[in-house]
């Protein structure tokens, strides 16, 4: 589940957005206040794959009142459109500012064992398959090089008047993620998708994470 994935990431020191799980509308408002506005609300259910299709996601929630209201709306909508789904609550999450979206992933290769992947989000990964791989555990050298290996690397160095991206933050994420996948033998595949990368010195955040267990 998303909240568990984010918690797991934070155990390994990966930067994740502030979040909490609400069981009631008042709890949603409380958590949102603690996080600070705006926030995102997402239904947590093992049975719902595409949350927005059932009205399970609300972005840009700006006040405690809105949080309460949208919590109730999500519950109603999910009950209506997916009545059989088990609902574990609603994830209240810091809404991250926009930045360069990258993907960090891992899988287990039959001959090389755990391998880590890096790619730049959107068309670069989906259409151009512009990704680089290294065998875990990664060293700083590997992490540096796999970022530079992708053809879209230019987006990192500054593009259309934007400053260069925080490469060091991504290196840090790659190294921690490599440690994580090396240690957690039950995980067969994992995606941090997207990781949002800000300008130099501003860091990067894992916006969403998925783990597949063996």
């Amino acid at each position: 589940m998303e909240d568990e994935s984010l918690l797991l990431c934070s155990f390994y020191g990966l930067p994740v957005p502030k979040f909490g799980v609400a069981q009631s509308s008042s709890e949603a408002a409380e958590i949102a206040k603690k996080i600070g506005f705006p926030v995102v609300l997402k239904v947590i259910s093992p049975d719902i794959l595409h949350k927005s299709d059932v009205g399970g996601v609300v972005l840009d929630v700006r006040s405690p009142e809105e949080a309460q209201e949208h919590f109730r709306a999500i519950m109603r909508s999910v009950k209506l459109r997916s009545p059989q789904a088990r609902v574990r609550g609603v994830l209240v999450q810091e809404m991250l500012p926009k930045g360069l979206e990258v993907i960090v992933g891992a899988t287990r290769d039959p001959s090389f064992g755990p391998v880590v992947m890096f790619g730049i989000g959107g068309v670069f990964v989906e259409v151009l398959k512009d990704v680089s791989f290294r065998v875990a555990p990664l060293t700083t050298v590997d992490a540096e090089e796999m970022i530079k290996d992708v053809k879209g690397y230019k987006l990192f160095t500054g593009y259309r008047g934007e400053g260069p991206r925080d490469e060091i933050a991504v290196i840090d994420i790659l190294l921690k993620f490599s440690k994580m996948i090396t240690e957690l033998e039950d995980v067969s595949e994992a995606d941090l998708n997207p990781v949002i990368v800000y300008e130099e010195g501003q860091g990067a955040k894992v916006a969403d994470a998925r783990f597949l267990l063996r």
């Binding site: 993907i103 992933g105 891992a106 899988t107 290769d109 001959s111 090389f112 064992g113 391998v115 992947m117 790619g119 990964v125 398959k129 990704v131 680089s132 791989f133 290294r134 065998v135 555990p137 060293t139 700083t140 050298v141 590997d142 090089e145 796999m146 290996d149 240690e183 595949e189 994992a190 995606d191 998708n193 998925r210 597949l212």
Partner: protein, 486 residues
């Protein structure tokens, strides 16, 4: 003694038995024996064939154990089902290595038979090369135990190939291209001895300075990565990886899963291992030719000398694509060029000494470039013209190099007809890597820098891994768990 020590007798055998040796000159068992006998191998050779007394003038034996003498290597060229029996017999006779030429194992689904073969070999303490191979060759021992070409040019390149037919063809190609070979090893199904074992041997082998790999896949990826990394910091490894375009789009639940397993993973692995990946056979040989003479450049400043602007531009682009950028030549050099070049010649980099440049101008331009410390390597390009001679230009290059006594890398690109080709051969014979196009010459020279970068990264990587291993082992288990929890 490491694994390389373990493979020592495979490459330096005192005696070889050839099981399945035949009197029929068309049989593989005959060609193998003939190649061993005629290749200058100094050890003892015993044909094994129960139905004949002599083959190629040698006494034949009914079995390996009936030879009654110590046998280091047993070459097996009998049908697959009979190999188990041969392995048992060879094991009893105390052989160290089985080189199994026979096919009909894993490649046709007979995994059971292959496992059985390795099992029997292990039981007797033997190592297995193959099965499903065309054999192996090691020039320093005068040993050609292949059914490939009889003659090869001895040299310092070891070639490890997973493909049989391509391997045999490349033995022939290397001779035509005058590439000197220390060894050719066909690894086939890699039931026991694999690429990593051989990399370790050739890494320590003083007769080998460059290793070429043709690789389709490996069973033990970690072992491959670990061993290749320790070898590539000592000598260049060039790899042709089969299946570069295989997208390997397996159905998987995650992005990473669907994108892995294909060429992108191998690209990363080869970089991590410090291996120079090349797209094709031609580039592998071009690189090998370069590494025959040079393996390092003292610095990044390459000077390009050309008599044609187009060739200069092509070379500049190729260098840039390989991460090598040209800088302006030192002022001292420019001033010197101005003393003899026509005023319309370009003294920037590439230096265009103009289409009519006589060989003397090549000599002067190169000679001076070799003397100036700020120039670290030179790419000499020559386009054949009606008024100049390729061979004379080649001679001018050799004269400049020999007189200067410089060891700066010099690579030549001679573009033209048969005379240009002759000049290339002339240069190669005098240990100056030369190529028929500006792009190939530039790409080869760039390989020197590519290798330097890879090697540096691998060194740093190995240092970091060693360091983290030391830190890890110094922290007791309990404390480590606590740190992890935090």
């Amino acid at each position: 003694m490491g694994l390389s020590g373990e493979l020592y007798r495979l490459f330096y055998p005192r005696s070889i038995a050839v099981v399945g040796a035949s009197r029929d000159p068309n049989k593989i068992g005959h060609i193998l024996l003939r190649n061993i006998v005629s290749g200058g191998f100094k050890g003892k050779v015993y044909p094994v064939n129960p139905s004949t007394d002599t083959i190629l003038g040698l006494e034949a034996f009914p079995s390996v154990s009936s030879i009654n003498s110590e046998i280091d290597v047993v070459i097996v060229a009998v049908p697959a089902e009979k190999t188990i029996e041969v392995a048992e017999d060879a094991g009893k006779a105390g052989a160290e290595f089985l080189v199994v030429i026979s096919s009909g194992f894993r490649e046709v689904g007979r995994i059971d038979l292959e496992k059985k073969l390795v099992e029997v070999a292990r039981k007797h303490g033997m190592r297995v090369l193959g099965p499903n191979i065309f054999g192996y060759l090691y020039a320093p021992s005068g040993l050609n135990a292949t059914f490939g070409p009889r003659e090869i040019k001895p040299g310092r390149i070891a070639f490890i190939t997973q493909s049989g037919a391509l391997g045999i063809a490349l033995m022939g190609y290397s001779t035509v291209e005058e590439i000197g070979v220390s060894s050719v090893v066909s690894v086939g199904n890699k039931a026991d001895i694999d690429d990593a074992d051989l990399l370790e041997f050739f890494g320590d082998d003083p007769n080998t300075s460059t290793i070429i790999l043709y690789i389709e896949g490996v069973e033990d990826g970690k072992k491959f990565l670990d061993i290749a990394s320790t070898v590539s910091v000592r000598k260049p490894i060039i790899a042709i990886k089969a299946g570069r375009t295989d997208v390997g789009a397996k159905a998987a639940a995650s992005h990473t899963g669907s994108l892995s397993g294909g060429p992108a993973l191998w690209e990363g692995v080869l970089k991590q291992a410090g291996i120079l990946q090349v797209k094709d056979v031609e580039t592998a040989f071009d690189y090998a030719r370069l590494f025959e003479t040079y393996s390092v450049a003292a610095g990044p400043s390459i000077l390009v000398i050309t008599n044609g602007g187009g060739a200069g531009v092509q070379a500049t682009d190729t260098l840039a694509e390989n991460g090598v950028l040209l800088s302006e030549p030192p002022e001292e050099y420019v001033n010197y060029l101005r003393t003899f070049l026509p005023p319309y010649a370009s003294t920037r980099n590439p230096v265009d000494i103009t289409g009519g440049a006589p060989d003397e101008h090549y000599y002067l331009a190169l000679r001076k470039a070799l003397e100036i410390p700020g120039i670290h390597a030179v790419l000499v390009l020559y386009c054949q013209t009606m008024t100049t001679s390729p061979l004379k230009t080649g001679e001018a290059i050799v004269r400049a190099v020999e007189e200067s006594g410089s060891n700066k890398p010099i690579v030549a690109g001679f573009i033209g007809g048969s005379e240009a080709r002759k000049a290339i051969d002339y240069l190669i014979q005098r240990h100056i890597p030369a190529y028929p196009t500006p792009e190939r010459a530039a790409q080869a020279l760039a390989a020197l820098y590519r290798y330097a970068r890879l090697r540096e990264a691998v060194r740093r990587r190995l240092d970091l891994l060693r360091l983290s291993g030391e830190i890890h082992s110094k922290i007791p288990g309990e404390l480590r768990r606590e740190i992890l929890k935090k």
